[in-house]
Structure formats: structure tokens, C-alpha cells
Subunit: 240 residues, 2 copies
DNA sequence: CGGTTGAATTGGTTCATACCAAAGGAACCG
DNA sequence: CGGTTCCTTTGGTATGAACCAATTCAACCG
């Protein structure tokens, strides 16, 4: 097919099959280059399908991506049209934000939020919540090989800490981060490298973090979370 | 098919075809009722397809919805599994978060986000966006008495900086902060005290901040935003 | 008993087709 | 000229089939 020569135009932060990605890139490139001008009707799905040599289903998947990003609008019976570039983002949804974030973006915001988040949690977390956090930690330490289970419990662990700050805004921001984490392709890859040894490593670190929180040792807790972040960044850089 | 009797179980926030919605509701109901227990493998897509009397593609669409909402996880070659229910609020909306945040919460998260946000914006903001930011500043400086207009433009100013980081997650988090800011009663009160003199004060500070950003002076920009934050906190404490 | 192999199962992707409903336009009629 | 009708085009939905890749697990072999 004639999709190969497209310059990677539309970053695919979400997992997307190569074929669909290629179609998205092709059409996005034609919009960007002005081949399809603003408010112009682009070729029908059936035409694109035969022109690009892919099935109409595939074309539709690509158009759905472009529509969800606000680049085109579609009207049954009429056609698909190029949208004028919107200036201000009209409140993108959680999943849209998460989908358009790179693993680096993720590490950056985590580096900003997590240290202060932990600091506030140490000070503000009620004893009952610390108990609950310990419960979660126990569940996490019971995991030995099941990477999926570990990641799920890890998520609950972080969420509990975020809630422990007592600041709904921080918890809300961190929800966004967790969503992005879940959708990150690269992060999914990292999970593949969650060997039992690595899981044990994580467990030790989270255990230290929990003990620091439980004993209200702010500085230690912040240090542990910073160390953990640095370690994760190292993995992100040094592994496949 | 046996999909009719499902009680509207799963709110369909996005547009979704009736058939897919019915399958989603059915499976969601079975999870909720415990028919599919936590961590249990639910029937294969092909089995569900024939049991529910719909095509496998349709089942897959439904499963994608459930997966995107975090209710199930899927692994190729293994199967689809029910996720443990996350206890906390099921993704509170922006406005809910904003409504339950105190002015102190607001200042805290701003203190965490804004310095690093400015730092990243100084480094990453493209010249074109800096130009646009200058345009916004000009509009802001044209205001003399209209407090409402000033606050609106101020919001655009911050939003532009957040976008300038190039990090959608930061921009997304900051959207949350701005929403909370808008709804904050106390902040609204403060606006009443936005006298012309005070507006001029703000304009000077934002002008300094902009110049620091435009000349790529990271340290100065961060200092200005910190000063600004401290000043706002002072007002919050010392005024009615 | 431990490791390997290979078939069967499962989700992931693409394709071809059919039919529906909305929109548009041309032909027609008043 | 205005409206109606009817056919065509377009996106929207659903189906069934085929193949791929990851996973599982039982049978097998050393």
C-alpha cells in the first residue's frame, strides 16, 4: 500500500495497530499540508479505503482517532470535514489527556507531584488510613510473580497516599497521572520486565516508604519516594 | 437475544450503539451481581459472542468500554479478568473536585505545580506561543478597572503557560486547579478587592514574569511566580 | 523429576460484506 | 418558482471470516 512514505506526523501515544496508525498519519499529513483544506470535505470512507488499499473498517478506525482529537467532524449522509484549528482546548477528557502524554511527560509530572504529595500525606493522613495503607502493602507483599496483580495493588497504594493528603485537588491531579500510567504503552512494556526479583525490589522500597509514613518521618518518606522515582527513570532509560 | 432484560446498569456517557450498550450492561450486571467474581476469568470473546447472540466484534467493542473504565483487564492468550473494585469515588468530576476543595487546598497545589510549570514553560515554550502570551499580556494590561475581565484574561495567561510546558498532563492538572479557582468562594471574595491599584500591581508582576519567560531566564521566572504565590497567600490571610 | 515441544485457546487485527438512516440533489409536478 | 418525491451518496452499525501473536497446558523426552 501507499502508506509507507508518510512522515511520522501524528504521535501515537496510545496503543494503535500499525496499519491504523499509518492511515492516521497519511490523512493527518494531508490535512497539515493543506491538501485537505479547512472545512473541505475529504474523500468518502469508501474512496479512501480503495485509494489507500485498506478496508473501510480500518479507514473508519483512523477517522475515529482524528475525530476524537478534534481534527475532523463527520456527519452521516454528508461527509467528513476538516475542522478549523481550535485555539483553546475545550476541556479534553481524562482519557484524551492520558492518551496524548508521553512516558517522559509522565515521569516529569510524577517528579513534581509525588514528593510533595508524600510530604503532605505523612502530615495529614489519619491513623485509620495509615492502617488501610498497611493492609494494601500486605496484599502487595503477598504477590510474587503476577505482574498484573502487583501493578493493580501498586495503583491502590498510590491512590491511598494521594487521598491521604486530604487535598482533593492533589488526589484529582494524581488520578490523571494514574490514568496516563495505565494507558502508557511504554509503561506496559516495563511491566513485562517486572520479574519476581524486580517485584521484590519494589516491595522493599514500598515497605520502607510505608514505615516512614507510619512513623511520621517526613524527610525519610520524601527521600524514599524520590529514590524510587529516580530508580524508575533509570529503568525507563536503560531498558529496551 | 437475551440482552433486553438488563437493568440500565452502566451509564453510557459516550455515544454508543444500542447493541453495544446492551452487551456492556449485561456483562457489567454479571460482574456487579458476582456472577463473574473478582479476578475470575470471564468467558472467552467467542463464547460470549455465541451466548449473547451477537458478533465477536460487538462483544469486543463492549469489552473495550469495560476495559477503558478499568472494570476488566485483558491479556492476549490468557483471557479477560474482572478487576477488584477501586473503593474510592469512581472518578469524581472536575466540578466535584473543585467544589470540595478549600482555598488552602488550592494554594497548596498551586505552590506545588506553578514553580515547576513555569520552569518547564521557559524551556519548552515555542517562540510562537511566547508571542501569543505577550498578546494576552497586552490585553491584560489594557484592563484598568474591570475585575471580571481581568480575571478572565489572567486565566488565559496561566493556561497558555501550562500549555507551554508541552506536557499535556501538567496542562490537564492545571485545568483542574483553574476550575477550582473559579468555584472558590473565597477567591471570588478576593476579586471584590481587586481595586484598580491592585490590578496595576498584578499587571506589573505578570509583566516581569513574561519578560523573564521571553528572555528564557528560568531562575528569574521561577522567582517571580514564587513571589506572586507568596503575595497571594499573604492577601488570603490578612484580608477579610 | 525437570525441561522442551507443540497443539489448543485466547485476545488482537484486518478484511469483505450487508444493511440502515441521514443528507443532498435532481427530476418532477403543482 | 416552490414543494415534493425519489434515488444516490455518505457515514453508522453489525456480521462473519480469516489470520496473527501471546499464553497455557498437557504430552513428551532426557
Amino acid at each position: 500500500m501507499s502508506l509507507a512514505q508518510t512522515t511520522a506526523a501524528f504521535a501515537a501515544q496510545t496503543q494503535m495497530s500499525a496499519t491504523v496508525q499509518a492511515v492516521v498519519d497519511t490523512i493527518f499529513g494531508r490535512i497539515r499540508s493543506g491538501e485537505y483544506a479547512v472545512d473541505e470535505r475529504l474523500p468518502s470512507e469508501r474512496t479512501l479505503s480503495s485509494d489507500l488499499g485498506v478496508a473501510r473498517n480500518t479507514v473508519r478506525e483512523a477517522l475515529e482517532v482524528l475525530e476524537s482529537h478534534g481534527l475532523i467532524r463527520r456527519r452521516a449522509g454528508s461527509g467528513s470535514f476538516v475542522n478549523p484549528q481550535t485555539k483553546g482546548a475545550p476541556q479534553p477528557s481524562h482519557s484524551e489527556i492520558a492518551a496524548s502524554s508521553s512516558p517522559l511527560d509522565l515521569q516529569v509530572i510524577r517528579g513534581i507531584l509525588e514528593p510533595d504529595m508524600v510530604r503532605l500525606a505523612v502530615v495529614n493522613m489519619p491513623p485509620r488510613d495509615i492502617e488501610a495503607l498497611g493492609e494494601i502493602l500486605s496484599q502487595m507483599e503477598a504477590v510474587q510473580t503476577d505482574a498484573d496483580a502487583f501493578v493493580r495493588i501498586e495503583e491502590a497504594f498510590y491512590r491511598k497516599i494521594a487521598a491521604g493528603t486530604g487535598n482533593p485537588l492533589i488526589a484529582g491531579c494524581y488520578d490523571l497521572v494514574i490514568d496516563a500510567c495505565r494507558q502508557s504503552f511504554r509503561t506496559a512494556q516495563l511491566r513485562r520486565h517486572l520479574t519476581p526479583a524486580r517485584i521484590e525490589d519494589y516491595q522493599k522500597r514500598y515497605n520502607s516508604l510505608f514505615n516512614a509514613i507510619a512513623s511520621r518521618d517526613t524527610d525519610a518518606a520524601v527521600e524514599y519516594i524520590k529514590l524510587h522515582l529516580i530508580e524508575e527513570q533509570r529503568q525507563l532509560l536503560h531498558e529496551p
